[in-house]
């Protein structure tokens, strides 16, 4: 833009310069013609042949000058200027032929003087007109140029402002994106931090990329830590497992020893009881081992677009019998049009079944099980709330209930249900938390990110 204006200024400056040059020439012509008219006056004063010859000679010279300058001046002049210039030549030619004729014939026609004078006057007036016009032209051109310059500067200013405004708003948008990304990172929602920059190829893109990279690395780190945490707790876990397995093993051992020593004295019914007890103990071991595998295994998730309502329905159907036996009434309130989630449905079902069974076990006298679903547009999370009216959790137990092997159910629980559930929800980039009031009931809240469209 500036470049174009520069060229324009340069061209019009050149134009003005050459016009000034033509004015100079026309001015010269003007002066030369005035000189010639002095000779004309001389002739009128003395009326002799010499003066006439002098005049013709000067005129001849002037004609030469004007003829030669024509090629230079004509391209610069405008149409009326060119016409006037040609007229100047025509009149001068006629003027000269008039004079030369008089010299040749040595005879002065009657109206010679008057004709010569009129033509001479014409010559000066045309050449003065030419000069005046050119002067006006130049000043007009300069005025135009100045106006043009001012206008284009104004236009440049306005365009600049608009561009600034645009870039500014883009930059603010980018910064907002960055702010959102940083917030996601700080909240540990690493997987969501894959955002395309609005303006490609600039410093902000680099920054946004860096944040994305950081988020990805942090996510990987968190997985590592989770896995390392599992390994670290493996020591605790192994002694826990040993103890957990030790009890049923010991029981089986005791049953078998007794059975062998008193076999002869046992009736069929008693023998059946013994075997039943032994079988129950092996079941206990099976459950521990199963849960343990769930806990340690980094199972490949099979993520699919799922409807949370459907997952809840399936999970409830899995525990329908337990609910009936325990006289627990279920109340499900989940809106139809919730956004879908990207999850491994069987894993989420496992979580819900764990929570439902815990709730049922907390309500030995029966009660209510509420399952409420909702969507929080601000965090883009689906929220599932599972509430029971059971015995609640003692305050000082609350920090421990997600720990592996933490149970208050002695031989009836492995204490792995909630720790497995916690692992699953975290793997889904969600969150699970608990609120409880002893004697009133317990509320588990699960947050899962809604699927991005």
């Amino acid at each position: 833009m500036i470049f174009i204006i520069g060229i324009f200024v340069y061209l019009s400056f050149n134009n003005v310069l050459s016009k000034l040059r033509s004015i100079e020439i026309i001015d010269d012509v003007n002066i030369a013609l005035l000189e010639m008219r002095k000779a004309e006056k001389n002739y009128f004063l003395y009326r002799d042949a010499n003066a006439l010859k002098e005049l013709a000679k000067l005129g001849e010279e002037r004609y030469e000058i004007i003829q030669v300058s024509k090629s230079y001046v004509v391209p610069i002049l405008n149409k009326s200027g060119r016409k006037n210039y040609d007229r100047l030549l025509d009149i001068l030619k006629e003027y000269l032929s008039l004079a030369n004729n008089a010299i040749k014939t040595k005879e002065v026609p009657r109206d010679f003087e008057a004709k010569l004078r009129t033509m001479g006057q014409d010559l000066t007036s045309v050449s003065e007109l030419l000069l005046k016009q050119e002067r006006e032209n130049v000043s007009r051109t300069i005025n135009n140029n100045v106006l043009m310059l001012i206008t284009s500067l104004g236009v440049i200013l306005v365009i600049q402002l608009i561009l600034w405004q645009y870039f500014f708003s883009l930059i603010i948008q980018e910064l907002t994106v960055m702010e959102r990304m940083i917030k996601m990172v700080s909240e540990g929602r690493f997987h969501e931090v894959a955002v395309k920059p609005i303006l490609p190829h600039n410093e902000i893109e680099i920054a946004i990329k860096a944040i994305s990279d950081m988020a990805r690395k942090l996510e990987k780190r968190e997985d590592d830590i989770l896995q390392a945490g599992k390994l670290a707790s493996l020591g605790v876990l192994i002694s826990g497992v040993a103890h957990e397995l030790g009890n049923p093993l010991n029981n089986i051992s005791l049953m078998a020893q007794t059975y062998l020593s008193v076999y002869d004295m046992l009736g069929d019914e008693e023998k059946k009881n013994f075997m039943g007890d032994i079988y129950n103990q092996t079941e206990r071991i099976r459950k521990i081992v199963e849960n343990l595998l769930d806990f340690s295994r980094q199972k490949k998730q099979e993520l699919q677009e799922c409807d949370l309502k459907e997952i809840v329905r399936v999970s409830l159907s899995l525990v329908a019998n337990h609910l009936k036996l325990a006289k627990v009434k279920q109340h499900v309130a989940i809106p139809e049009n919730l956004p879908p989630v990207q999850v491994d449905a069987s894993q989420i079902e496992q979580v819900l079944v764990n929570l439902f069974i815990n709730a049922i076990q907390a309500m030995p006298e029966g009660g209510d099980l509420d399952v409420n679903g909702s969507y929080d547009p601000q965090s883009a999370n689906l929220i599932l709330e599972i509430r029971d009216t059971g015995i609640g959790i003692q305050k000082d137990y609350l920090p421990n209930i997600f720990d592996p092997f933490f149970t208050t159910k002695s031989t009836k629980g492995t204490g792995l249900g909630l720790s497995v559930s916690y692992g699953i929800i975290r793997q889904h980039h969600g969150d699970i938390s608990v609120e409880s009031e002893e004697g009133q009931g317990t509320r588990f809240i699960i947050k899962l990110p809604a699927m991005k469209k």
Binding site: I238, A242, G246, N250, S253, L254, Q281, S410
Partner: protein, 137 residues
Amino acid sequence: MDQTQEENMSPDKLRIMVLDDEPIVCKRLKPALEKLGYEVDTFTQSPEAMHQIQQTSYDIIITDLKMKEIDGMQFLTEAKKRHPGTEVIVITGFATMETAKQSFQKGVFDFIAKPFKLSEIQEVVNRAAAKIRGPAA
């Protein structure tokens, strides 16, 4: 075996408390020890057992180490405080055996690892009984 016979004859039977939150352990230990001529009370709830030792004294206490409400160590300390003459036998999982031995240098008659043999526990109980009766005999 001779000793067993003697004790069976004895009018003042030794009293044993068994405390383990596994009901099967209680159920199986009780007859196995009664057969040897001891009077046996079993508990699966440690608070109840705690309550009981405030009322009466036992010659021998057999307790599990890891229990829900009150853990074995706490129980043992309390029992010893009340009746220093009581002999305590600790049952523990094999994994915690070493730690258990380290933390109870004093005061514990013996350790038995789960899973245990009934004969093993009978043998340890008899040794404890012999120690109790020892000076008198």
